[in-house]
Subunit: 189 residues, 2 copies
Amino acid sequence: MEASDEHATRERLVRAAIALIPRLGWGEVTTRKVAAHAGVRPGVVHYHFASVSDLLGEAAVRSTRETLAAPMAALASAEDLRSGLDILLSALDTTADDASTVMLMAESLLAATRDAGLRARLHDLLGEFRGEVTAWLRRHTGDEHAEATAAVLLAALDGALLHRTVDPSLPTDALRLPLERLVTAGSAS
Amino acid sequence: MEASDEHATRERLVRAAIALIPRLGWGEVTTRKVAAHAGVRPGVVHYHFASVSDLLGEAAVRSTRETLAAPMAALASAEDLRSGLDILLSALDTTADDASTVMLMAESLLAATRDAGLRARLHDLLGEFRGEVTAWLRRHTGDEHAEATAAVLLAALDGALLHRTVDPSLPTDALRLPLERLVTAGSAS
C-alpha cells in the first residue's frame, strides 16, 4: 500500500472505533467488529495497531480532542473572562446534545480504571486542556491559583456533562453565575 | 419464607450486585451470575426484582446513598461553610480511594444513558443530594443562588472524582481554595 492509502485505512479504523464504542460499549468492540465496520480484514487492525485496546485508546483521545479543538482555539483568543466562559458553556451544551460523544468519554474514563496505558493517555490529554484553561485564566486575571481554578472549572464542566445525562433539564444558564464567581474571584486577589 | 428471611435474601442480592458491577461491568452482570454470587437459585432474583436491570438500579442507588450518608449527615450539622467544605472534600478523598465505588458510579451513569428507569432513579438521587447541599449553603450564606451553586459544587466534586481516576496525583488540597471561593462568593452578595 502507498503511504496515503495506509493513512486512510488507519483513519477508517479510528472512525469505526469512534462509531462503535458508544453503540456497543467499550468491552464489546472487538477486532472483528471494528474491521467489519471499517470494511477491512481483521488482520489489517493488527497491522496498524498493537492491540484493539490501542485502537480504542486512540479513538477516545481523537474524539475528545476533536470535540474540544474549536472551543480551545476560541478560548486562546477570547477577549476577556466572560467571553471565555461563554465559549466553555456553549461547548458544554453542544457536547451534552451529542449523546455518542458523552458516552464515548464516559466509556473511556471507565475503561481507564482498568487499563494503565489508556490512563496515561487520558492523563496527558487532561493535562493539556488544563494547561490551556490555566493560560486563559492567567491572561485575564491576576489569579495566583489559576492552575487550581482551571482544575476545578474543568471538573465542574465534566461533572455537569455527566449530571446532564440523568438531568437533561439542568440549564447551562443556571451554572453561569457560580462559574463566573469561581473564575472572577481570583481577579480580586 | 418468613418476611425477615425474604428481606435478608433480597439484601444478599443487592450486595452481590454491588460487588459484581465494578468487577464485571454493568452489562455483564446477569441473573445467573448474581444468583451464584449470592448463593441462591436464579429464580429467586425474579421473585425479588422485576428484572436484573431493576436489581442493578437498586444496587447503584444503594451504594451511592451509603457512600454519601455519613458526609450528608455531617453536612447537616456543619458549623460553618468551611467545615462543611472540609466534610465534602474528605468524602471526595475517601471515595476516590475506593476504586469499586467510583467504578460503580461511572458504570451506573453510563448505563443510565441507555435505561430510562435508571435515569429517573439517578435523577431523583442527584436532586436529593443537591437539596441537602443547597440547604447547607442557605444556612451559612445569604446566597440567593444557592441552588445553582450547589449544582456546580456537586458537578465539580463528581468531575474531580472522575479526573482522579486518570490523575491520581490531583491533590484535594489544591481544589480547596477555588471551591472556597465558589461557595463563599455568594455570602458577599
